[in-house]
Symmetry: none
DNA sequence: AATGAATGAGGGTTCATTCAT
DNA sequence: TATGAATGAACCCTCATTCAT
């Protein structure tokens, strides 16, 4: 906000150009020459700032993912309830990916499958977000929001995998304008997941699923009709 | 079964070697020299069978994914119920990916983000499976198994995205031996998804979800103990 | 004439195909594979008949140029006068080149500048024709048809060079239909050359070229006006 | 003249080396490796300056033929008479070809039969010279120097074809020292051609070609015997 | 005689990277 | 700090040619 609006530094210009070109043609098919040309500097200058083509690649998500993590860190603590927190974390992701398609293309198509990227400070921030998600899920299990037997890793894979898959497909189709944007889908998505892992009654008691041949028997055990009302009326 | 167990053809040996090396070092970092050496043929021979390095890359999933699709096509029709079908389709995938890690690494890390691969006959088979999934979901919505307002594309992205994410992570961590293998996770995973999108009442009779304060009441209505057994007790 | 019209031998089919393809794409850019395919034989068969790609190249003009030389040898001796002989030799060439464009393309564009071709039996026949031309010229000089100081080598270069140049240009322009075909040009061409090297007196009488300062003197020797008319004394 | 005699640039060194090697072994058999070695630069440097092996080939005649055309353009206009102009144009060619045998070998043996070369700026200069020749011939026809029915294209083919043929033969024989060099031959050559296409009467006065049945009449008009001498009056 | 299959040998081209200025 | 110029190091791909059958 109070940032001085100084002209982009050479370094920034290089990274901007690199993001564009890496996203467009992939890491291997992008050339330093092309990037330097787009950035308006010489090739040697690129090497002044980034020792290696791969260093340049990894430098791009570093700042962005850190910023995103920090920003989300400022907000998450104020959110009550694990479901809300999870929603918030994913929303950060989805918004970032959606508002910056080059970045999401870079991360999802170029970096995600790069083993060396996983040992990078840039990936650290992503891992922290991912870990935050895991913590939320565990917390939800611990506090009874989610089923005791839920597998947190599986849940996290569902959350991240679905979001990533949606974006990958979006990119692969040439990023068409979507009626329900991915952001729009988020709540339906989360509702399905949460619905599948939430405890039915909360904490105490036992939830049984009975298939009754004859509804009349119900009368014997259910004095009140509304006992049949379920969480998922919607 | 009655196949003559003839020695692997040169072509097969080349594809085997290529799969190994592509999976290990990635398409760009693999060299034809290395592949031909591992296959025990000359480089020129590689080009006899595959016009291009990329042709070789794409030839590998072509056979496998077609075979898998055909095999699954033989089984799926005999499965009653969309949930079973969906489970079967995913199981085919997961088993293929798990039993052939090089192949899953190739597909998930090298090919999935390759735009040209998407215009390939090899990808066609994958797309057909993916479309089969979509059809099942739609069928489930139509026949009342799933909620009317479920978004089939979202569901599919959940199914595929989760599975892919699990495998990608597995690969990225160096394919550790997992206690609950990904195949093992499949049912828990599907239960969550189905649980989130199923309509609560089923076709005949009435399915009731009772929240019982006291398990003893069951004795009144359930003469036989096993009557309480349900499709998805878990 | 009495040749049995047997089906083309494999060898002939190969040479036909080679002529076509060599002429079209040049020696270097033609491939044995393509030639063998067009000939309807295997590559190995090409090597049965011709030890080398270059051998195949050289084999093509061998027969043709020998045939042409022989044929012209049958005719030339019966022609009286060196000019007629020269005309006949060139006519053979021009007709051959014009009626078989692939052959002339091969000879003029591929072979003429190939040093090894000059040591070839195929070139021998060409050289013999060329030498025949030289002999005619010398004979013409000796018998007083041509000027004593004419340079036979120069004359021959004029004769061959002009013809070749006309054909090379024709090929380079894509062999357009020409109104005056090259054959048609031959006589005008020869007339110019002969005119330039002929001694001025013809057979009978004496041809004198007088430069008259004063046209009036003509009246003294030329009773009829029109006797002086002639640009084209021939 | 006042040019600083700076050391040859890398680009020049590459072109020099390429000319040598292309002329010696032909375009196809020359390798970039060999050229770069002879030029004392790396192969990559060759590609810095010339994007392609063929680009390098075409770059060589570009400069030379342009220079030659320009130089000749400076001189030609000052020459009176089409014969003199034609002689000048050809002399430029012959001198260039003779003084730079590698260049003439390149042009006559490698480039002349290269179809792509004909669409090259390098060939444009050659075409301009060639067109200049044509213009001179036409001018000669128009101003009465040459016969009205002379075919300019044929004449040009005679001029160029002969010169080229002389040089091609010279190269094919290993460029022997010639007693009458090709330059030396030029005038005899032109005299033959001109003689064959000139109108007999010259500008002033009237040139008449008389065929005299009886040489005695000459005595009436030609007091001096030597008036009849002239094959080569000029 | 004919060929399917295989390959040795090499060439053009590309680029990330370096370094003197 | 910035860069123009240069290159080392590979890699993909081609094809004439061979040989067992």
């Amino acid at each position: 906000m109070t940032e001085k609006h100084r002209p982009k530094t050479r370094k920034d210009r290089i990274m901007d150009a690199a993001l564009l070109i890496f996203a467009e043609k992939g890491f291997q098919n992008a050339t330093i020459t092309e990037i330097s040309k787009k950035a308006g500097v010489s090739e040697a200058t690129v090497y002044e700032y980034f020792g290696t083509k791969e260093d340049l690649l990894f430098a791009i998500p570093e700042k962005i993912s850190n910023d995103t993590f920090e920003e989300s860190s400022k907000v998450i603590p104020y959110i009550k309830g694990v479901e809300g927190k999870i929603r918030a974390i994913l929303l950060f992701y989805v918004q970032l990916y959606q508002s910056n398609p080059d970045y999401s293309a870079l991360v999802l198509l170029q970096l995600m499958s790069n083993k060396r990227f996983r040992q990078t400070p840039a990936h650290e921030a992503i891992r922290k977000s991912s870990h935050g998600l895991l913590d939320c899920i565990r917390e939800g299990i611990a506090d009874g929001t989610f089923k005791k037997d839920a597998n947190p890793y599986l849940i996290r894979s569902m959350l991240m995998g679905t979001v990533e898959h949606l974006f990958i497909h979006w990119h692969m189709q040439g990023m068409p304008k979507r009626k329900p944007s991915i952001v729009d889908l988020l709540d339906s998505f989360l509702e399905i997941v949460f619905d599948g892992i939430r405890t039915r009654k909360e904490d105490s008691g036992t939830t049984l699923y009975l298939k009754l041949e004859d509804a009349k028997v119900l009368e014997k055990i259910l004095p009140k009709k509304d006992a049949a009302a379920k969480d998922k009326t919607k």
